[in-house]
Symmetry: C2
Subunit: 183 residues, 2 copies
Amino acid sequence: MSTRTEVLEFATLGLLTQSPLHGYELRKRISAIYGPFKALSFSMIYPQLRRLLEAGLIEEGARTEARRSRIVYRITKKGEARFAELTENISPDSWDDESFEVRFAFFGEASSNNRVRILEGRHRRLKEKAEILRADVERPNVGIDKYLEEWRRHSLESAEREIAWLEDLIQSERSEKNERKTK
Amino acid sequence: MSTRTEVLEFATLGLLTQSPLHGYELRKRISAIYGPFKALSFSMIYPQLRRLLEAGLIEEGARTEARRSRIVYRITKKGEARFAELTENISPDSWDDESFEVRFAFFGEASSNNRVRILEGRHRRLKEKAEILRADVERPNVGIDKYLEEWRRHSLESAEREIAWLEDLIQSERSEKNERKTK
DNA sequence: CACCGATATATCGATTCGATATATCCAATT
DNA sequence: AATTGGATATATCGAATCGATATATCGGTG
């Protein structure tokens, strides 16, 4: 799941697993995952839907008479299988900001093992990032712009906060799992 | 400064203001501004340098005999003027993540007034973002995935921390200015 | 019932990325 | 002294992606 196209395929199948949708609504929901000020462009959505349709991963639902110009898509068996496959299939790209964001938004669909693996991967990646930033920040700096340094300090803090957040999540994933076991 | 090309032009001129550089080194330094795991691609750098050369904003420095395949560029008067112009010319795009990051990295080159204006703009933008997230998080949620909600909560916290960070910076910018005045 | 903003699908040119090619420099190894 | 390999350095191409815009319909308001 490295390119945006792949991330989009995952998000599309994931959302259609929950309920049938048309392109416009799909775009809104994916944009909502990305958060404010970061919408997904239409030119990705519609060609994408056609691709998935041709591949038999989604199918056209019944067109309501009321809104003629609206095409509702629902997921097929094949599409569900593909989504499950993508969910299981974690690559190092999954720790990238956007990939992680989307994977995280569909955690409800994944297994607990899977959730933990993804959280740990993201955790590892951020640890690496933090180490690099820390080395930059703590090095006695000669001739480095003080504002750039200040930005790095802030980035380091952000990374550390996300690391702590991930640790909490991993913790609670694990304890939930144990609870289920001992029940 | 909306497109990546424009951000890159700003960063290039800014770095060349500080010292002459060749493409490879330029790319490394711009990537350093972006932080770990987010490099700039070569296909942006070299065509960009040619454009700036043609526009007379940069010029080829003396080629050292030692390293034949290395072309060092330095900024021209015209280039310096252009950089000053870009520094002053703030648009709403300047509050976008990437634009702000780069502008911030060249704060040393800007006037104090300019610094404050940029910080305040970013502050405004993040306030807006935080409000939207807060509304989402605090709304009694029916049927929203608990992980997506958790992600929003985390995003809100990050935004709030950056807001506080910006407020500190604005504060210290202002007090420095006053100190200079009263001297 | 006329208007307008939100809904809905669609496409195009321009931008940007990712992968790769080619060659050089330099330090370590043999 | 020759060889190897990894970092340095410039360059380009096709594919992916964006941003802007066109077109039409829907639903509520005056």
